[in-house]
Symmetry: C2
Subunit: 159 residues, 2 copies
DNA sequence: ATGTGTAATGTTATACTATAACATGTGGAA
DNA sequence: TTCCACATGTTATAGTATAACATTACACAT
């Protein structure tokens, strides 16, 4: 499983996520159509954030569509249903690593290799809740993104 | 002072921020030129995030420039020197409310009225630091944005 | 089997956000 | 004066996202 920046069984990781998405769609009466499923697969292939137009160019080579609305609609679906997240700092998208769980995701984004790791933190959620409450603010969504250098790239830089 | 969504002496608030920016520029040998100063003023006028092209259209009516690089350069300067922040979720910019202090700012963004309130939280900073450290990740920048409903708009919605 | 409604997709056009690249001005230091 | 660093002017273009309307596909009621 993808914990931090450590190695994991990525094939299993992808399969688990796809299976989970299928199950959730079946439960909720949602349609995981060909394009939507393929976009989710592409996002799962690497723990990187992909730009909408990167995804679109792949879809295009596969005959699944060539115009921007194709990919944005698929991304909207995936994001709305918790299968993917938008990384605001990068204007890019990343598969969700903890589908099904309600979450205030935290992303660690490596500036060098573009790796994106998603973590969840209940304490943080509580903490922001307290902060917001003190200001009388009602939280609907949170964007928490940490940009920096991942362990691998830190080592590479010190060589 | 702007604490949460409460009323404050906004004239003083603006003056303080401008004076602080001038002082900081003098200390550091930075030039707070006409355009840069005006953009900062515009950002300070309201506790809202302004889009680059909104700012540009004002600059244009004032004869300060009409092309995108004018405003983006000014914004780059202000952000680089801590006088303003980019709100990633909105692709918009907001004056910094705590200039001079090192910070991992937290923004509360009202989805309805676009008000943006900036807070600072050492505990949060520490918390993210701990999270990142556990993953071996080196933090360079953080983006923390809470989207929701401010006290005023919550009241308006329940009418 | 036929209509009917909903959701998804196809298609064209355009809006919005941001930067590259190169030219020009400006003010201080050698 | 000459040079240099920095700021600004200007043109063009790249990158991100959505509006609007047409068409298809399928479930399901008649």
């Amino acid at each position: 499983m993808p914990i931090g920046f450590e190695q994991h069984d990525h094939t299993t990781c992808i399969q688990t996520a796809l299976t989970s998405a299928e199950a959730h769609c079946a439960d909720e009466g949602l349609q995981l159509t060909k394009v939507r499923r393929r976009v989710l697969e592409l996002l799962l292939l690497e723990h990187k954030a992909l730009g909408a137009y990167d995804i679109l160019s792949t879809l295009n080579t596969e005959g699944l569509g060539s115009q921007p609305p194709i990919v944005y609609r698929a991304l909207d679906f995936l994001v709305a249903n918790g299968f993917a997240h938008k990384i605001e700092k990068l204007n890019a998208y990343s598969a969700c690593c903890h589908p099904g769980k309600s979450h205030a995701p935290v992303f660690m984004i490596c500036r060098t290799c573009q790796a994106v790791v998603e973590t969840q933190t209940e304490p943080l959620r509580n903490f922001l809740g307290t902060t917001a409450k003190a200001a009388g603010f009602l939280i609907e969504r949170t964007v928490i993104e940490i940009e920096g250098s991942c362990p691998t790239c830190q080592k590479a830089e010190t060589l």
